[in-house]
Amino acid sequence: MLSSFLIASFAGYVLYQRGQDSGQVSASPDSKGLVSGNSSQSSSASAANTFSYKDGEYVGRVADAFYGNVQVKAVIAGGKISDVQFLDYPRDRGNSVRINTQAMPNLKTEAIRSQNANVDMVSGATETSTAFRESLASALAQAVVVAKNQ
């Protein structure tokens, strides 16, 4: 029987935190490589501070994405992130030769098919998204308005 099996699973995060002059803002990367942050005020009665974003455009710092820099601009409208634009991104592979060749002709190609598959884990790119998060976090930190709850 399977009764002796115990599944122990644990998710830990190496949090990427930046203390900003407007207060503590922690940008916690979720597993999809995006910053998840509160963009609306909490309505629950608690002693904690809440924060929202002030409308406007905010340019994040330049972050090193190894093969180049990433810099983003966050656009806040209605207190929420309405757009994120790239001001800089890795596009020059340094000493690599010009890349215009096709894949070897015997390699199979296909159109990708989006799935909601039942999988144990997901493998996805994070290389540039780490720098993306860093630049976006610094942009959002400028937009934050900290409001104290009563």
Binding site: L2, F5, L6, I7, A8, S9, F10, A11, G12, Y13, V14, L15, Y16, P29, D30, S31, K32, G33, L34, D64, A65, F66, Y67, V84, F86, Y89, R91, R93, G94, N95, S96, I99, T101, Q102, A103, M104, N106, L107, K108, T109, E110, A111, I112, S114, Q115, N116, A117, V119, D120, M121, V122, S123, G124, A125, T126, E127, T128, S129, T130, F132
Partner: protein, 243 residues
């Protein structure tokens, strides 16, 4: 490095102490190798505060592995970043995940996976008694996957970016071609091998999949900016049910 770490262990002996050991190890790696931390050993090396004689043995080991990978990839893997600083994160990640897996193996576990930032080492089987399955993230829809790979004591690493043509503009060259490929996933005998080749292969653009094709023991799946995927000739044997 600043990335999420996920560990799942199948076994009745797993307790908090085990997870503490693994996450503690990743914290230690981060504190040594993170270029985002001013006090890390790598940052001090880059600022000149630590001379080569003062490098830790792990640091020396990583630099040696980086040199090997640089040779194996004809220079495409190079830990000198564009800003002129050392950044070995392209190899540290796979190396650290593999070490973490060995920590669990030394505790006596045979069925688990270690996932750090989307690079994964999988050992044994899941709680349903099947080999671990890994979805390849859809670069166009981050909540979905496009392919399911079954890992039989193997590693998988995906290098890439979510930058897409329609969201990018170059204010100075609006017609300049945008990044050609969005992600390159490599499956190998372990996550260290998969990771150290996935990083430079991605840097090669479309050529990257050819590069992986030529290396014994590695299979790859590349997705371009148009949503067209190219796979190495042996890749499909790892795909679940033709999906």
């Amino acid at each position: 490095m600043g990335m999420p770490v996920e560990v799942e262990i199948v076994g009745y002996k797993a307790d908090e102490k085990i997870f503490d050991a693994v996450f503690g190890y990743f914290t230690e790696v981060d504190e040594r190798f993170s270029t985002y931390k001013k006090d890390s050993e790598i940052s001090k090396i880059n600022s000149g505060e630590i001379a080569p004689e003062g490098w830790s043995s792990d640091m020396k080991k990583i630099f040696t592995l980086c040199e090997e990978t640089k040779k194996d990839t004809g220079g495409y893997f190079d830990i000198v970043s564009r800003s002129g600083k050392f950044d070995p994160s392209g190899i540290v990640k796979g190396w650290a995940i593999w070490n973490a897996a060995e920590i669990l193996k030394n505790f006596g576990f045979e069925n688990f996976f270690v996932n750090a930032g989307g690079d994964i080492e999988a050992r044994g089987k899941n709680s349903r008694g099947e080999y671990w399955s890994a979805g390849i993230r859809n670069p166009f829809d981050l909540d979905k996957t496009v392919k399911t790979v079954v890992l039989k004591n193997q590693g998988i690493a995906t290098s890439g970016t979510y930058l897409r043509g329609q969201h990018i503009y170059n204010p100075f060259k609006k017609d300049e071609p945008i990044i050609e490929i969005l992600s390159l996933t490599v499956v190998g005998e372990n996550v260290y091998e998969a990771d150290r080749f996935a990083t430079p292969a991605f840097a090669m653009g479309r050529e990257g999949i050819n590069f992986i094709e030529k290396i014994d023991g590695l299979e790859g799946y590349m997705i371009d900016k148009d949503g067209v995927a190219t796979m190495t000739s042996g890749f499909e044997k790892y795909v679940r049910n033709g999906a």
